[in-house]
C-alpha cells in the first residue's frame, strides 16, 4: 500500500482530539428524578479521576478521524514494494546502474570482486531472468545519467551491458533516478513497470534522492552490491598557502574506522622521484601534509603525489598538480665598494632582504631554488652596461647613496625608467647631494637640501615614522596584527628634501618630513627613501619591518605584484562531458589538448571561447595549446574527493527517501498515466464510504448514550 499524498498523513495528529475531548468532557450534570438513592454508595458518586468513558464511542470517533485522514492521503494498492507480479504479465524493467567512481572499489557482495563486477553480475542476472517478451532498458549513472541501453529486448540490453565500464566521475543517484523515471513514459503500455537499482549506495551519492519523484505504479527493487563500508585512504586536495615562501599542502583523508600510521606520501616532479614524507591520520579524519620546498626552476612543473597504502580504492591514492614557478625579478643593486667585505657594503642589508640565500649566480639552472628576486650587485660604472645589456634591462635598479653620479648616468636612468624600469633611491652618509640634484634632479621626486640631524638637546634625539598611506599596497601587510610595527625604528639622520610637483608622499616621519616618496616617469616608477639602506642613519634595517617593505617596494617597482609567486593550476574532477572556458578572445579557435596518456585531441571553441564535450576522465595533467603550440591553459584532473568516502547507505533508508508522484499534468505522459492509474488501485473512496455508516452508527450510539 502506498499514499498519493503522504503529507496528509500528518493529519493523524488529529486523533488526539477525540481522546482529549473524551478525557476533558465532564458529565453534563443533567438532573433526573429517581425513586431512591439508598442503593448508591458514596464512592460511586465521585468523579475525581479523568478517565476515558464511552470507549466504544471513542473508538468509533478515532476510526472516523483516521479514515478521513487516510482518505485524504489517497491510499492505493500497487505493485510498488515487494508486490507480486503476475507471471503472465509482461514486464518493463529499467535498470539503474551506478557507474560512479566508487564502483571501482573493493568490498562487494561477490568475494574478491570490485563493486562494479558485482553490479554487472547482478544486472546480468536481472536481464537473464526476464523473458523474451519483456522489455528492458539500462540507465547508467555517473556525473550525468544517460541511457546506455534503450527500451528493447533483454538480450539487446545484455549486449549493450558487456562493454560498459565504471567511470572516474562523481555520481549522483538522483539524476539516474530521474532519468529512469522518465524512461517509463515510453514503456510498453500495460506492462508491469519495474525499476531495479544496482548500486553500491554510496552515501554521498544518495543524499538528495527525495528530490526526485517517480511515477506512481512502479515496482522497485534495490540491489546493493557493496557489503560494508570499506577502508580507504585518499589524497583529496592540494593547496598553496603563504607567500614568503609559499608552501604546498596536501590533504589526506582517512575514510576508515582505524587510525593509519606511517602512510608514505611519495612526491615526484616531472616524472622524477622528488621526495617522500610519512603521515599519521586518525580514523575518519583528514590531515594536511606540508610538502618540502620544491626549489624548482622557473616554468611549469608537473607534480604527482601518491600515497602508498593498500586500501579499497587505489585510484584516489594519487593526486596530480601543476605548479608554475615564476621567473625571478631581476634586480641590480649598485655598490660603490664591491671590494669591501659583503657585510661592510652599504648594499648589504638590501641584498640580504631581497635574496636571503646567496645565489649560485645562474638563475636558469634547473637545480636553482625558487627565488622571487634575482639580485645582481655591480659597481656604478657597470650600471651603464647593464642598462643596455642584450639580455634586456633589469626590472629594478637599487641605488644606495653614491658619493658622485657619473655624467650621463642620470640620462641613462631616466631613459631606463621611462621604458618601464623601476628605480629605488636611498639616502645615506656620503651622498653626493650636488650630483644627485644635478644629474637626477628632473628624475627624482625631491631635491636634496642637505643632511639634518635631530635636536641634540631633545630628550629623544631621534625621529620615528609617524604616518604611512593605508591605501598603498606597500603597507597593506602591516595592517595585520603581528606583522611588524613601523613606528619602532629610530632615525638619527635624514635628508632635507624639497618635494617635487609630481611626487606622492607615501610615508612621513613624526614631524611630517617625507620618508617615502613616489613618482611616475614614463612607464616606470621611482621610489625614494629618506634614510640610509644600512644602519648609519637608523636602526631600521635590523627591524622586522625592513625586509617585507623592501620586498614590497621592489615588487611595486617591478610592477609585478601578484604574479611573482607560485601558481597552482586548476584541479578538475573527471568528466566525459567537460567544458572549458578560454575566454572570448579565443572564440572559434582550433586548439590542441594534450592528455595525460600522451595523446593529443583537437577541439574548437565556440563563439564565447568555450570548449565543449571534452573527455577529461583520465586523471593527470592536461595542456591546452593553440595551433602555434603556445600553451594557453594547464590544468589537472583528479579523482573526485566525494567518491573517496565509501560509506554506504542501507537499502531501507533509500526506500524511505523515494517519492512517488502522479504525473498526470504532463500531457505527454497521458497514455503512461492511464496505464499507471490502471495499475494502482485507489481505495480512498471506499474509506469515505466506510465513514458514512460509521458516522450514522456514532450518531445513533451517542444519542443512545444520552437517552
Amino acid at each position: 500500500m502506498a499514499w498519493l499524498y503522504p503529507l496528509f498523513l500528518t493529519g493523524m495528529a488529529a486523533l488526539a482530539a477525540p481522546v482529549l475531548i473524551h478525557l476533558l468532557m465532564k458529565a453534563q450534570g443533567r438532573k433526573i428524578p429517581f425513586s431512591t438513592l439508598r442503593f448508591f454508595t458514596t464512592s460511586q458518586g465521585t468523579r475525581g479521576k479523568k478517565k476515558i468513558r464511552h470507549w466504544l464511542l471513542l473508538l468509533m470517533r478515532l476510526l472516523m478521524v483516521a479514515l478521513l485522514v487516510a482518505a485524504f492521503a489517497r491510499p492505493f494498492w500497487s505493485a510498488t514494494g515487494s508486490g507480486d507480479i503476475p507471471p503472465q504479465q509482461r514486464r518493463a524493467v529499467v535498470i539503474l546502474l551506478d557507474r560512479s567512481a566508487s564502483m571501482q572499489a573493493q568490498g562487494s557482495d561477490q568475494a574478491g570482486a570490485t563493486r562494479w563486477n558485482a553490479a554487472v553480475l547482478a544486472t546480468r542476472k536481472i536481464l537473464e531472468g526476464l523473458s523474451a517478451t519483456d522489455h528492458a532498458a539500462i540507465v547508467g549513472d555517473a556525473e550525468q545519467a544517460e541511457v546506455v541501453a534503450p527500451w528493447g529486448s533483454p538480450g539487446m540490453a545484455l549486449e549493450l551491458l558487456a562493454p560498459l565500464t565504471p567511470t572516474n566521475e562523481a555520481g549522483r543517484l538522483a539524476d539516474g533516478l530521474l532519468l529512469a523515471g522518465s524512461l517509463f513514459a515510453h514503456a510498453p503500455p500495460g506492462a508491469q513497470r519495474e525499476l531495479m537499482i544496482v548500486s553500491d549506495l554510496q552515501k554521498t551519492g544518495c543524499l538528495d534522492l527525495d528530490s526526485v519523484s517517480l511515477p506512481i505504479g512502479i515496482h522497485y527493487e534495490i540491489k546493493r552490491v557493496a557489503t560494508s563500508q570499506a577502508s580507504n585512504l585518499a589524497i583529496t586536495d592540494l593547496t598553496l598557502e603563504g607567500v614568503a615562501p609559499p608552501v604546498l599542502k596536501a590533504t589526506l583523508g582517512n575514510f576508515s574506522q582505524d587510525k593509519i600510521e606511517g602512510a608514505r606520501l611519495v612526491i615526484s616532479v616531472d616524472q622524477q622521484p622528488f621526495s617522500q614524507i610519512t603521515v599519521d591520520i586518525g580514523k575518519e579524519s583528514s590531515v594536511q601534509a606540508t610538502l618540502p620546498n620544491l626549489a624548482l626552476s622557473p616554468g611549469w612543473h608537473d607534480l604527482k603525489m601518491e600515497v602508498k597504502q593498500n586500501d579499497a580504492l587505489a585510484l584516489d591514492n594519487q593526486f596530480y598538480a601543476s605548479v608554475r614557478v615564476p621567473q625571478p625579478i631581476t634586480v641590480l643593486v649598485v655598490e660603490q665598494h664591491p671590494e669591501e667585505k659583503i657585510y661592510r657594503r652599504s648594499s648589504y642589508f638590501i641584498t640580504s632582504a631581497l635574496d636571503p640565500t646567496p645565489e649560485t649566480g645562474d638563475t636558469q639552472s634547473p637545480d636553482a631554488s625558487y627565488k622571487t628576486f634575482a639580485v645582481t650587485t655591480l659597481s656604478p660604472e657597470a650600471l651603464f652596461r647593464a642598462l643596455d645589456a642584450d639580455s634586456g634591462p633589469p626590472q629594478v635598479v637599487v641605488l644606495p647613496p653614491l658619493a658622485e653620479i657619473a655624467p650621463g648616468l642620470g640620462a641613462a636612468l631616466k631613459s631606463y625608467v621611462q621604458r618601464g624600469g623601476g628605480l629605488l633611491v636611498w639616502g645615506g652618509p656620503g651622498i653626493g647631494i650636488l650630483d644627485y640634484n644635478t644629474e637626477l634632479g628632473d628624475l627624482l621626486p625631491a631635491h636634496f637640501d642637505g643632511v639634518e640631524t635631530p635636536d641634540e638637546t631633545a630628550l629623544d634625539a631621534n625621529w620615528q615614522l609617524g604616518w604611512w598611506s593605508g591605501e598603498s599596497s606597500l603597507f597593506q601587510m602591516f595592517q595585520k596584527p603581528g606583522h611588524g610595527d613601523l613606528t619602532l625604528p629610530k632615525f638619527r639622520q635624514r635628508l632635507k628634501l624639497e618635494v617635487g610637483p609630481g611626487a606622492e608622499v607615501l610615508a612621513t616621519y613624526d614631524d611630517k618630513t617625507p620618508f617615502l616618496l613616489s613618482s611616475k616617469v614614463g612607464r616606470g616608477r621611482i621610489l625614494m627613501i629618506n634614510s640610509s639602506p644600512d644602519t648609519h642613519w637608523s636602526d631600521w634595517p635590523i627591524h622586522k619591518t625592513f625586509l617585507p617593505l623592501v620586498d614590497e617596494m621592489t615588487l611595486f617597482l617591478a610592477q609585478n605584484e601578484g604574479s611573482a609567486s607560485l601558481l597552482l593550476a586548476r584541479s578538475l574532477a573527471p568528466t566525459r562531458h567537460g567544458e572549458f572556458d578560454l575566454g572570448t578572445d579565443r572564440a572559434h579557435e582550433q586548439v590542441r589538448i594534450a592528455r595525460p596518456d600522451g595523446k593529443t585531441i583537437q577541439a574548437q571553441t565556440d563563439e564565447l571561447g568555450m570548449l565543449h564535450r571534452l573527455d577529461l576522465e583520465q586523471p593527470g595533467p592536461y595542456q591546452i595549446r593553440n595551433m602555434q603550440n603556445e600553451e594557453l591553459q594547464r590544468f589537472c584532473v583528479n579523482f573526485p574527493a566525494v567518491e573517496s568516502n565509501l560509506e554506504i547507505t542501507d537499502a531501507h533508508e533509500i526506500t524511505g527517501m523515494l517519492r512517488f508522484q502522479d504525473v498526470a499534468n504532463d500531457p505527454s505522459h497521458a497514455a503512461d498515466n492511464f496505464s499507471s492509474l490502471q495499475a494502482r488501485r485507489e481505495f480512498g473512496p471506499w474509506l469515505m464510504l466506510l465513514l458514512l455508516p460509521l458516522l450514522l452508527l456514532e450518531l445513533f450510539w451517542a444519542n443512545r448514550s444520552r437517552a
Binding site: 438532573k31 429517581f34 425513586s35 448508591f40
Partner: protein, 296 residues
Amino acid sequence: MPSSNFNLEMIGDEDDLPLLARSIVEGMLTGLHRSPYVGYGHEFESYRPYAPGDNLRFVDWKVWSRTDEWYVKLFEDETNFVGHIFLDASGSMDLGTGGEHKYRYGRRLAAALAYLMIIQRDAPGLVIWNARELTYLPPRHSKQQVEIWAALPQGRPRGNAALPDDLRHLLEGITRRGMAVVISDFLAEKDEAIELCETLRNHRQEVVAFQVLCPQECDLSLEEDVVLVDNETGEERVVQPDEARANYQALLEAFCAGIEKRCWEVGIDYHRLRTDAPPEEALRAYLLKRESTFVG
C-alpha cells in the same frame, strides 16, 4: 374481547379507567381454564343471567330446560367478602415513562383489582396514601365502583411513604377478616410499606404485596453521568451509571430479597412486578390467594 396479550399502552391511561380495568380483567379471565368466580355462598337469593366465566356448577339447569336460557343461582353470603386495596402514592412511585410509570401502573392495577372484586361481588375498599395525604374509600357493596373510578385519578405521587396518623387509625378499624392488597415499591426510607403489610397481617388480613418497580430503576438504564434527585428526600447525587450499575443492582436485589423474606416470615404473598410486564400475573396471584383462603 380483549386478548390475553393485552398491552397497557394500547389503552388510554386515566381517560377511561373502568374500561381499562375491565379490559385487563376480562383479558386475564379468558386465559384461565376454570372460572374465577369462586366463593359462592349456600343461601339462594336470586338468579342472574349466566356470564362467561361463571362456574357451570351454579347454572340452574331446570330453568334452562324450561326457558332455554342460562341462569346462575346467587347466594346471600357471596357479597360479604371485604378487600382493601392500598396504593402507595409516595414520591418514589413517580418514576418511569409512559405506561411504565410506576404510579400509573399501580393505579391501573388497583383499578383492575377493584373491578375484579366488584364483579366477584366482593366489597372493595381503596386506600391511597403518602405522608401528606390519605384517600380512603371504605368497602361498600353498592356503587362503590363509581367512587373508586373517581378517586383513583385524583392522587398524585409525592412526599414520602410514611404512614399518616389517619391511616394508622384507619388500620385499627379493620378487624373483619378479609383480603388486603398493598401496591407499593416498598422503597420508603423507613420501610413503612412493609410495616403496613405486617400491621394488616396482624389484623387478620390475607395480604398480597405487589412490589412495583420500573425497568429504569431495575436496570439503571442511564448511559451518561447524571445527577439523580431522590423523589422523596430531594437529595442529589452525581452518578456514573456504568460504574454504579453492578453494585446498585446487587443492593437492590438484596433489598427486594429482604422484603420478600419479611413477607414470607409473616405469611404475606409477595410479588415483584416490573412495569414493562402485563399486570395479569398480579391478578392471577390475587385470585389464587383469594381462592386458597376463602374457598375450601
